[in-house]
């Protein structure tokens, strides 16, 4: 399963394998270390996989992967475990404060393996 738009021509070296989809709990996050950074990986109920920076800019702590995953309307989101700020899993936008966002990363699933790619552009 693939989520997000596959970015223009990126080589396989840019895609970091992190874990198997089966290892991810549904509607819960896990943290991965990608290019030296903590990345929060989420698997939603429809088995789509998303990746955001793990750092909560409000609480200034690396915790987003430990939040509760759900939906607001049609938007899949994670609520930070610190002060419940909600972030759109697709874009990293904060749903409670339009001026704030966290990085969102491209994700591919190839043969059951989750690959994390480049940071998405902020066009989302």
């Amino acid at each position: 399963m693939t989520s997000g738009v596959v970015p223009h021509a990126c080589g396989t070296d840019d895609w970091q394998p992190v874990c198997r989809v089966a290892e991810l709990e549904v509607e819960r996050g896990a943290t991965a270390l990608v290019h030296g950074q903590a990345i929060a990986i989420f698997r939603t109920h429809d088995d789509t996989v998303y990746a955001l920076g793990n750092h909560d800019p409000f609480a200034r702590a690396s915790v987003l992967a430990r939040g509760i995953v759900g939906t607001r309307g049609d938007v899949p989101f994670v609520a930070s475990p610190m002060h419940k700020h909600a972030f759109d899993l697709r874009s990293g936008r904060c749903l409670d404060d339009e001026h704030v966002s966290v990085p969102a990363y491209d994700v591919r699933v190839v043969e059951g393996v989750v690959l994390v790619g480049h940071r998405k552009s902020d066009a989302a």
Binding site: C19, E27, L33, R66, G70, P81
Partner: protein
């Protein structure tokens, strides 16, 4: 502009005097004035309106408006047990009963009123009382011990309150009223008659149209003679009205009103510009106001005047709504149809004892006033209609017809049609416009904080406001469930749902959120007591439950092993010390008599807990909305004052209710004597030892809105105590809203604590056995969830720093040291590890 500080003396620390000082502090008057408050009574201001509840509350503290004992401003000095005895306006000083003389730049008289005792022969006999202060009530209570009968002289508002007090003290009670009906100032004959029917059902004998001729007895009261006969009695309470206490002003040559009271202008200024008078001792425009709301308004006006503001007191809404002996009574506006051409619409149900009257203009378009007895639920809608002058609906009678008779929906929601100037809360003078402005700015008003009668109206206004903003105001949990927590609880009980997915598919929509998921996790845990990290529920758990520890600001966790009742043997204490040392944790003693270990990285939690479990510790559930601790003093085992084994009971209760998932955290306390060293009344359930057993208090908490627990039942043996607690806790778990602590839950119940007592003690719903069974199931199915976690590799899988680098600690977490222990260092930006750190592959 002078830099010299000025002095403001306030004579009187009753409700109005207190409100004045509060407003003075809040509005910055103490920036220029030092305030000295002189109160005659031995304690600071208390809620005289709720005086009757003194017997139920059992202590004066319960009624206090200043439980801290002093004002939260060092520039306010409170002098109690002292009377202002003299006023020298030329020297600008007041003299006090303790001999002190105070100079003032401004003086506020808030000396209140004194009960009026009619000149009846025999009024000085032992057994005659007035009804005004806590001391009066204490004296009546002491006299009631040997008495069997009591008579209240006066059938007005206060007289009926006094009668209520005598009924509560177990006396055969009579009320003697000179006027032809009860509450002659507020009610007409129809309303008075309905009230008599209710009151006589409670065993109170009402004598209207009877003047008291004499009280007879040999040193002590034995009988009361009226024109119509003789009533044998042991106690007489005078409640025949009040008189302003204006003697100080009279002696100082200030102008007083013809019928008493210090004459003041619209700024509440007396004939001396430096002296003000407020509350019952004042007579603005020559008229005295014997209610607290106008007094509060006067207090605000004087603060305003001292700040050179434009405030003016131009009269007050004398509307009244209260519960007298359990009967709703309200009177508002032109209740006696005094206006020319006014028409009356009356609904009366003699069987139910309901009487409702509306007074409308001749053309039927506007409401002028009304009287409600037996059912005053429409008051919140009707009274603002008078104040605002808005047009009545086409069929105004629908406003007072019972719901089943009424055809329209006028009864209940009239909020939005009101103009913004309409006053909603008359106690605190808050208008509809101010409430809506506060809703918009997400601030607060004082509406509903005094008598509470406008709360339904405020709720309606707020709901309508949000509905108008396009926001859904269902009482549902969140956008995924249009159901309350209690409704969800019942659905789970009836259908046996065990999974969020089944529940959301059948009764909700979407995939849930951080509001509904933990609430449902809690409901499932309360009913089935499975492991919170089981496959079906682990994704629902809130932050702390998800890792069975308390997350801290830098993303690390704190660990709290259970120490029941705060009792711990040295060997276990040493284990905690060793674990803290070996894992480099910061330790601190908690308020719940246990030890908190901070700074554990998520991936360290299993190893820490393996050590603790092996040493015989179990989860303390500090992370859960569940029972935390039952705090105790050492009790009769060690303490020379103790009368029961409080530590033993606390341990028993903590072990009984440990692991019980509830709408919010739960705390308990047990004290071994009335000294209350365990602070049990600051807990959701508090037990205090008596010579005969245990008193059980409920609904206390600390935090932002501290509440004292209130007495649910007294002198219980231990088994009855546990049974009541089982019922109380399960009733709370079943019916409270999410994140609603017991104090707020009790307040939210129709009937409040009385309702809880009916269900828990009297078993009025017949739920007792069911609630006890539910608790027995919980107790029987308890297991230590940390032990179960360290023994289950599947549950341990999530306790890793990085799925692809489980051996690498999160570089975002770092510590400094402070006072010899670690402390978190908070990084502003995410930390990036150097590329030399290997990144694992799947």
């Amino acid at each position: 502009m002078t830099h010299l500080r000025r002095t403001l003396v306030v004579a009187g620390n009753g409700m109005v005097g207190h409100r004045f000082v509060q407003a003075a502090v809040e509005r910055g008057l103490t920036e220029t004035y030092d305030v000295v408050v002189v109160g005659e009574e031995p304690r600071p201001a208390y809620d005289r309106v709720a005086l009757t509840s003194f017997f139920a509350a059992g202590s004066a503290d319960e009624l206090s408006l200043l439980p801290e004992g002093s004002y939260d401003d060092p520039r306010v000095r409170l002098v109690l047990g002292t009377t202002v005895t003299g006023l020298d306006r030329d020297a600008r000083t007041v003299s006090l009963s303790d001999g002190d003389v105070l100079a003032y730049d401004a003086l506020v008289l808030a000396t209140g009123a004194a009960p009026f005792v009619p000149p009846v022969p025999g009024r000085e006999l032992d057994g005659c009382f007035v009804y005004r202060t806590i001391e009066d009530l204490e004296a009546i209570r002491d006299a009631s011990i040997t008495a069997t009968r009591g008579v209240v002289i006066g059938g007005g508002l206060l007289g009926l309150e006094a009668a209520n007090a005598l009924v509560q003290l177990g006396l055969e009670t009579h009320v003697v009223e000179m006027a032809p009906r009860l509450m002659p100032v507020q009610l007409d004959d129809g309303g008075g008659a309905a009230l008599v029917r209710h009151i006589e059902k409670l065993g109170v004998t009402v004598h209207t149209g009877e003047a008291t001729r004499a009280i007879t007895g040999d040193g002590r009261v034995q009988a009361l003679e009226t024109a119509d006969g003789v009533i044998d009695t042991d106690v007489v309470v005078f409640s025949a009205g009040i008189r302003p206490r204006d003697q100080l002003a009279r002696d100082a040559g200030l102008e007083v009103a013809e019928r008493g009271g210090v004459l003041v202008d619209e700024q509440c200024r007396t004939s001396d510009a430096r002296v003000f008078a407020i509350g019952e001792c004042a007579a603005p425009g020559g008229r005295m106001y014997g209610l607290v709301a106008p007094g509060y308004a006067m207090a605000e006006v004087v603060v305003d005047a001292l700040l050179d503001g434009p405030g003016a007191f131009t009269g007050a809404d004398m509307s009244t709504k209260l519960k007298l002996l359990g009967v709703d009574v309200a009177s508002f506006g032109d209740a006696f149809a005094g206006a020319e051409g006014a028409l009356e619409l009356v609904y009366a149900d003699a069987v139910a004892g309901v009487y409702k009257k509306l007074v409308v203009t001749e053309d039927g378009t506007r409401l002028l006033g009304g009287i409600l007895v037996g059912d005053a639920s429409a008051y919140g809608v009707l009274r603002p209609m008078v104040a605002s002058g808005i047009a009545l609906p086409a069929n105004p009678e629908e406003l007072i017809l019972p719901a089943r008779v009424s055809t329209g929906s006028a009864n209940g929601r009239g909020g939005v049609a009101m103009p913004d100037e309409a006053q909603v809360c008359s106690c605190n003078d808050v208008t509809k416009g101010e409430i809506l402005a506060a809703a918009e700015q997400e601030t607060t008003t004082r509406a509903g904080s005094t008598c509470g009668s406008c709360k339904p109206m405020v709720k309606t206004l707020i709901e309508d406001y949000y509905a108008g903003q396009g926001k859904v105001v269902d009482r549902g949990l969140c956008e995924h469930f249009a159901l309350t927590r209690q409704e969800l609880f019942d659905l789970v009980a009836v259908h046996g749902y065990r999974r969020f997915d089944d529940l959301v598919e059948a009764h909700g929509r979407g995939r849930g959120c951080d509001v509904c998921k933990p609430a449902i996790a809690s409901i499932l845990a309360s009913q089935f007591n499975g492991h919170v990290l089981s496959e079906d529920t682990s994704a629902l758990q809130d932050t702390n439950d998800a890792y069975l520890a308390n997350i801290q600001r830098n993303g690390t966790y704190s660990v709290v092993p259970r120490i029941p009742g705060g009792e711990i043997a040295p060997e276990k204490l040493i284990v905690i010390g060793e674990v803290a040392r070996d894992f480099g944790l910061y330790t601190k003693i908690t308020g719940g008599q246990r030890i908190d270990l901070f700074g554990a990285r998520m991936e360290e939690l299993p190893a820490i807990w393996r050590r603790l479990v092996d040493a015989g510790f179990e989860s303390g559930h500090a992370y859960g909305k569940s029972l935390r601790t039952v705090k105790s003093c050492v009790g009769s085992t060690w303490c020379r004052y103790g009368v029961q084994d409080s530590t033993g009971l606390a341990i028993r209760l903590e072990l009984r209710y440990r692991g019980l998932r509830s709408p919010h955290k739960l705390k308990g306390g047990v004290s071994g004597c009335a000294r209350e060293c365990a602070e049990a009344r600051g807990k959701d359930f508090g037990v205090i030892a008596t010579e005969k057993g245990w008193n059980l208090y409920v609904g206390g908490n600390g935090g932002a809105n501290p509440a004292h627990a209130r007495l649910l039942a007294g002198d219980l043996d231990t088994e009855t105590l546990v049974r009541y607690l089982d019922r109380f806790l399960m009733y709370y778990v079943r019916t409270a809203d999410r994140l609603q602590r017991t104090a707020a839950w009790i307040d939210s119940l129709d009937g409040g604590l009385d309702r809880v007592r009916e269900v828990v003690v009297d078993d009025s719903l017949g739920l007792g056995a069911e609630l006890e069974d539910a608790m027995a199931r919980h107790v029987g199915s308890y297991f230590d969830e940390w032990r179960a976690t360290v023994e289950d590799p599947d549950k341990l899988a999530r306790f890793v720093s990085f799925v692809n680098a489980p051996g690498t600690p999160d570089p975002n977490i770092s510590f400094g040291t402070e006072r010899g222990q670690i402390r978190p260092e908070v990084a502003g930006e995410p930390v990036v590890l150097g590329s030399t750190i290997p990144v694992g592959a799947p």
